[in-house]
């Protein structure tokens, strides 16, 4: 199993959700978060003072997937999250040792 984590623009969440549903993903976890990448935030002027906003609002999407789906899933998420503008975010995949469905006790890929 793999854990796919995508940190994306909040405005792209709906598209990513739709794309994942269309692919057949059964569940996902979404968290509001903030961060910066190479763009290093931006400067805002408010009430006469300039501030650097270095933690840009982002959404973090986490999906567990069977090994064989992981590669394709990355492409699906990247395509849906892509706007071509700075700050589109990042997607990464890590191996997962085990997973358990709490209600039934199913383990491994069956729990997904």
């Amino acid at each position: 199993m793999k854990l796919l984590t995508a940190v994306i623009k909040p405005a792209q969440l709906d598209e990513v959700k739709e794309a994942l549903r269309a692919f057949g993903v059964q569940g996902l976890t979404v968290t509001e978060t903030g961060g910066y990448g190479r763009q290093r935030g931006h400067t805002e002027v408010y009430r006469g003072a300039a501030y650097t906003v270095d933690l840009v609002p982002k959404v973090r999407v986490e999906v567990l997937a069977p090994d064989e789906d992981a590669g394709q899933l990355v492409d699906v998420v990247v395509k849906a999250a892509h706007t071509g503008k700075i700050g589109d975010g990042k997607v990464w995949v890590v191996p997962v040792e085990n997973a358990v469905r709490v209600r039934t006790g199913e383990r491994g890929p069956d729990a997904l």
Binding site: E44, V45, Y46, R47, G48, A49, Y51, V53
Partner: protein
Amino acid sequence: MNGADTAFVLVSAFFVMLMTPGLAFFYGGMVRVKSALNMLMMSFISLAVVSVLWVLFGYSLTFGPDTGGLIGNLDHAGLSGLSPDSLTEQGGIPLLAFVLFQMMFAVLAPALMSGALADRVTFGAWAVFLTLWATLVYFPVAHWVWAEGGWLRELEVIDFAGGTAVHINAGIGALAAVLVVGERIGFTKDPMRPHNLPLVVLGAALLWFGWFGFNAGSALAADGTAATMALNTQIATGAALAGWLAYERLRHGAFTTLGAASGAIAGLVAITPAGASVNAMGALVIGAVAGVVCSWAVGLKYKLGYDDSLDVVGVHLVGGLVGTLLVGFLAVDGVGGPAQFGKQALGAFSVLAFSFAVSWLLAKLVQATIGFRADPDDETAGVDQAFHAETAYDFTAVGGSTGRDPGGPPAPPGTAAAPETAPRPGRATKVDA
């Protein structure tokens, strides 16, 4: 006694009472979430403290028989000698209605300063400073300006509803206190943006509404002067709001909600001394100038390096000066001119000098005795929890820290141990913007 005048002044007093809670919301929405309640309380406590002071000796020091043009005596301490049948000198309204009306001014004036000291002073020290400031700064200055025999009134300085006595006075007092207390931790580094702008707008709206009582009620009669003042209040406030937004859009690129709220207050402040002496066009000029100048002035704190947190100096001191000085030229009926301008400037700068000096000394006194400044840990964590044992909003669904403590009574609030042991709703999810 005139029933219509009495009803008008009483209702005006009720309007002005609402300004202090309005101010609490105006300031409360502007601070960060961790000190929102403290900001509300800093205004609200004035309703308690100054109401009591006013009865004990405030009214007498302000409007009691004059001593040398500087202060009233204590003939009316405890409101002695005032009965329901006592009438004002002009005979129009019961003296007790005037006592109530002016009490609301005395409550509001010191509360205005609280915005400059946001997030970082202990609540007890603020209450003490409030008491001292009302007694040694506000009561004397209000006497100078409004009381029979007060030296600025004898000089015929125009200050109809308190541009000098209230706004310049509180604005410069706030600056003095800020210079003693120092800047917030993180000033100029952290954005410290308002946590609840709808609350700011609500507060501004309540202030605007209450201000009709403040300004028109100062006529102490339901007459043409009151009507002029009410109309000019609306004109100047609209012009100032527009002026502030225009300046802000040109300089910084956006019409901010905070700017709209602040612009309205700047206009209200500026028309306060002047509104009964100018015509509608004069009110328009005063409002527009105040909106633009105050919008510029709130940036000064960054250039000059004083942390007037919620722009009390930029709005109340500068707005008060704009109105007080401009009326010197714009007053109708042949009053306006260089001679009147000179009187206005003398009045404004006398109050500036006196209030700055005494406020600074009082702040130093508080600082040196009981300490003015909150503990840095309390300031960083938020003074709401430290001094009030509460947080303004509890949106957390998890609430893991709100269970009853099985081991004994809660620690008293404000002790060093409180931040660690007191229940802290929402701590895990609070993110300070």
